[in-house]
């Protein structure tokens, strides 16, 4: 079995004095896709930022690509992160943005890669328009094009389906499956179980900074999910 791309053991992260991650453990191997679910404020986005090295962590252990990551934040260009914002400059066109990131990532055949990325997200028709004229869904597509273009070994996607139309959602599913097939590891957050069941090998639920439940998606059905949802989303059970 291939070595894990990322291993977290008992990760602890505070923001100010507030504990946001309280001992999160996970391992992602090549081709592994994990869906992280949970109510707002559960710590999903923070987990992705810590895994991606945008933020440091206070306790536990984090290993990426076989090396222990120091507790100070340490990014790695082999990681592609989709955040709540697009990471695109609004006053530049999508083509200019992608060219910029292609040069920063020192990719070869810049123009070819940029055009393929634009095609992959279906934005050929708007690629020469400034990103500030884009709708929310178009920005999300542009942000996904950036990650697709750099072809990272670890994809960390925070609500990748957010703001997308039906065709866009299919595109994301296809993109996640394709990245997994090419050997990348993926972690993505979502609020919809059908999205998790479509793409992920495993699904976990976070509540108040810890992973309270996980399962392989194979064999998991909607009825089980409805019971879990009532247990971990809202209400007093959440605080138990």
């Amino acid at each position: 079995m291939a070595n894990p791309i990322v291993v977290a053991e008992g990760l602890v992260k505070d923001i100010g004095a507030t504990p946001v991650l309280r001992g999160v453990s996970l391992a992602i191997r090549p081709r592994g896709v994990l869906a992280v679910m949970g109510a707002n404020g559960a710590g999903k986005s923070t987990l992705l930022k810590v895994l991606g090295g945008i933020w440091g962590y206070r306790g536990g252990r984090l290993e990426r690509f076989g090396k222990v990551v120091p507790r100070d934040a340490m990014p790695d260009p082999r990681i592609g992160i989709l955040g709540h914002q697009s990471f695109l400059y609004p006053h530049l066109t999508l083509l200019e943005n992608l060219r910029l990131y292609a040069r920063l990532w020192e990719l070869s055949s810049v123009e070819e890669r940029v055009m393929k990325a634009v095609q992959a997200v279906g934005l050929e028709w708007a690629a020469q328009d400034p990103v500030r004229t884009y709708s929310r869904g178009m920005r999300q597509r542009g942000a996904l094009a950036r990650i697709w273009m750099i072809a990272p070994q670890l994809w960390l996607l925070d609500e990748p389906y957010s703001g997308l139309d039906e065709e866009g959602r299919r595109m994301v599913t296809h993109m996640i499956q394709g990245a997994g097939e090419r050997g990348a590891g993926l972690v993505f957050t979502t609020h919809r179980i059908d999205e998790a069941l479509q793409c992920a090998d495993a699904v976990t639920i976070m509540a108040r900074g810890t992973m309270v439940w996980w399962s392989r998606t194979e064999g998991l059905d909607r009825a089980d999910w409805d019971v879990l949802r009532s247990r971990y989303w809202g209400g007093r059970a959440f605080h138990a």
């Binding site: 923001i15 990014p75 260009p77 992160i81 955040g83 400059y89 990131y101 920063l104 020192e106 990103v131």
Partner: protein, 219 residues
Amino acid sequence: MRKFIVLVGKDLLLEARQKDVWVLMIAFAVLELFLFAFTLGDQGSRWGAARAGILWMGFLFAGMLSIGRSYARESQEDTLTALSLAPGGRMPVFWAKLAVAFVAMVTMEGVVVPLYAMLFNLPQSLLSGPLALVLVLGALGVVAVGTLMAAVGFNLSGHDTVMPILLMPLEVPVAITAVQATAQLWQHGDPWPWIHGLMAFDMVFLALPLLAYEFLWEV
């Protein structure tokens, strides 16, 4: 180095599109000059050391107004995070911001100084080589402190308010040394002790980010 060059190109392209930093700087400095020229009339040319102060106050406030904007541009879509993820580490992001701000300051000085000479009847002989050195070193001091403080302020809530308060006391040494060096030049005194002071100040604020910048990225 490659990342630095790409980021300088990006910042220049953004400035060409948005025109919000350089235009603001030059407009502010020119307006300040006209304000003093109209207020003081022909007395302005007889004010000795205060003439240098008028020039440098314009540069200082124009720099303070505009340098923070270069980081503010990165906040809209969290692009600073994306830049930090790219190969080459985080320092090139800072040096690129500093380099573009420096070019902007020197360009502003290039526009303002001839205008100043005209408005305040400054003889051509006083626009000497050493003045160019003082202008370059002064610009470097203003942008070194300003860019570092802009990076500090980026993660602070209400950074628009906090920035000038943090920046003002730190810019005092560069203001004093630059004004005194310019005044000594224009009064045919010895500017070199002040120029050396300006050099020392520049070196401190160019070295400080190497030690502190990585800490600025954390929450």
